[in-house]
Symmetry: C2
């Protein structure tokens, strides 16, 4: 089943919006082993869109389109679909009811503009939209499936999960039953060091495929194994995974879509431990990531964003002279912040960061990217120095939060942070 | 100049990595008025890559490729480029020096693997890499320019800014000097209401182009004006922008790449006001966004992530009985949190949120998506109820943080939040 995703929208071409839609659809299709062969992005231009439809339709079995289905004048996808399939628009009563209900619920006015959303190409099955007014379009023709969805990410994603993926699986079945892909997620080690620690890859993989995907959060290793059937593939995969773990296991914090905040959340919950954070340079990013996990109130007690020195003194009971003596960005202050967070909150663990995120704020002996991460529990109160050495503030915040969560993970598992 | 961007990498196709590279390149090209006609993504497969090169090369004047230039086995782009242009690899001494210096600086070993990065296709000009070891490739042939760069975003972005864009402008000049695009950024109003408040678009725009780009952060309006020359375009644009502002100005918080945290940061700084936050459901996201702005320590004093009720009582001095009586998610608690944050920190303004982010935690009369945002200053202490009505935790966090920052903006500007 050759599958192609077309994203429509000038905003994607000119880079003012990230193409999260193609990524989301690609991920969901891959989970069911549909093979995404290619994706493309074109602008909001009728001729260009029709050309793209023609080219892609001939070459593929499943075509998914997002964007341009809204109520405003710049939404021309429905018109293009209608032209391409040489069909016409027809009012769909079920969709009209959906639209009316949604408008009522949000307390808006039912205008002709909004009502027009219930017009659906005659040969299509409409896809209901539980997060907006524009329905999606599902067309089966020439043994192909052509799907168009709105470009608003959360409207599209609900359609993909509720309708599109189940219906594709029903129609075509799971694809490539004999292939399995997993991601092993590492952090705190550069790509080339990881590669070298793994040793001879040909020997290690014995035919499996592996890719290294570095980012500011660490290096993902993508491993794809093919067997005569799913079971054989699974067995081969388990063997290789075990080998990899024996060589670089300490750096692997999770698997597939797991985030490190989920991993430490589970560890804290399982051990009935509670956590408080004290953040200076990350400004709340660490606590925000921790509380991205549903149910985190079971272990996350509170966080202090002690941006000013006064806040460090007043909230965390750090001695003013100590800050004066060592500077707010120092290993001593990181330790006291972690301890202060723990003691003030009465939690089992305190995690703290202080650093210089840039682009300004550096001094002669304290460069941008310098960070100290402290951790305090019943037994130890320690801190570690990092130097992320980049001039990009947001990248440094991401790296700092990731390193802090990894330090917490290793603390919980008793893995030393240094080699 | 027809321009096409090809992104190479299975990780993009299967959605495990977002295509930030194509967005970045698209943005930088658009700034210089190069017209990005189409972008595409293909996997790490030699045959597929060569086919894509062929198809795209014929149809375009400028071709930009990212991905697959690294040192590991899964990087095959350089090989494909060499084949496609029927050339061969040759050691480049300048690049070899760069590679050696970089390896030395990072304290790594100079392996054959790393040294091999200095091999460059003979007909190409190498593009130096100041953030990594893999050089880029610049080829001019058949009146076309073909450019290949590494997929690691910060390596690619440095090449684009240092070398690629300046050289393209030098070669082709700025394109379409007579066209200007701006984005007006709104929040707190649905797309359809904004559209209606603008009135007759044909009359308003008189030939200019406008697009509406909704997301959880609000609706961007993209406005493109063409004139006989840049000056005429600028004059037309100013006129239209003024008309738009007269109709929906209160909802417009910023322009182009401005974030709302930059806007409120500037307002706070200009007025010498200080801010403290108290967050429950957003877990630190608001303070993290505020401190994403360089220099925010001038106005951001501290933040409280009072996740537990105990933290609300102890850190913000809220009466325990009050939480008992109204519940932690209530308009009363939001008000007292804002006031507590302000008084405890001694700042001019306190901003607070409490709500239910989901997917669990709802009660019969308090659904997921219910949020109260409180704000306290010298004169007022008020809170407002929001219902984001979605079951997605991260979306609800984004929306809540955006609404809180917008409430702060309107407070600073004296714009009432309600209609």
């Amino acid at each position: 089943m050759k599958t192609h995703i077309i994203t429509i929208g000038d905003e994607i071409l000119i880079g003012s919006t990230l193409n999260t839609n193609a990524a989301f659809i690609g991920e969901k299709l891959t989970e069911k082993d549909f093979n995404v062969f290619k994706t493309s992005v074109v602008g909001d231009d009728e001729e260009v869109i029709l050309n793209e439809f023609k080219e892609v339709y001939n070459d593929n079995d499943i075509i998914l389109v997002t964007g341009g289905l809204g109520p405003t004048h710049d939404d021309i996808t429905r018109k293009c679909v209608t032209k391409f399939f040489n069909t016409q628009l027809k009012l769909n009563e079920e969709i009209l009811n959906d639209v009316k209900e949604r408008v009522k619920k949000r307390g808006l006015e039912l205008t002709t503009l909004v009502e027009g959303q219930a017009l659906v190409p005659e040969i299509a099955t409409p896809i209901r939209n539980r997060r907006g007014t524009a329905p999606g379009i599902w067309i089966e023709k020439d043994n192909k499936v052509f799907i168009a969805m709105p470009g608003v990410p959360h409207e599209m994603s609900a359609m993909i999960e509720d309708f599109v993926i189940p219906k594709l699986v029903e129609k075509f079945g799971n694809q490539n039953e004999n292939k399995i892909t997993i991601h092993l997620l590492t952090t705190g080690i550069p790509e080339v060091s990881l590669y070298q620690k793994l040793g001879d890859l040909n020997e290690l993989l014995s035919g499996a495929k592996m890719a290294f995907l570095p980012s500011q959060f660490g290096v993902k290793m993508r491993l794809t194994v093919t067997g005569k059937n799913k079971e054989e593939a699974q067995n081969k995969l388990s063997e290789i995974e075990q080998l990899i773990r024996s060589r670089v296991g300490r750096y692997i914090y999770g698997k597939d879509n797991e985030s490190i905040e989920q991993v430490v959340g589970r560890l804290l919950k399982d051990r009935c431990l509670t956590l408080a954070t004290a953040e200076s340079c990350t400004g709340g990013l660490i606590s925000s990531r921790i509380t991205n996990v549903g149910g985190s109130s079971a272990y996350f007690e509170r966080g202090f964003v002690t941006y000013s020195n006064g806040a460090k003194v007043e909230e965390l009971n750090i001695d003013e002279d100590l800050i004066e003596q060592y500077g707010a960005v120092s290993i001593e202050v990181a330790r006291y912040m972690a301890e202060g967070a723990r003691k003030v909150s009465g939690t089992d663990i305190g995690l703290a960061v202080t650093g210089i995120m840039g682009p300004t704020g550096a001094t002669e002996d304290k460069p941008v990217g310098l960070v100290y991460i402290g951790i305090s529990d019943e037994k130890v109160c320690t801190a570690k120095k990092f130097n992320f050495g980049d001039d990009d503030r947001l990248l440094n915040k991401d790296r700092t939060s990731q390193a802090a969560l990894e330090m917490l993970r290793r603390n919980l598992l008793g893995i030393p942070y240094d080699e």
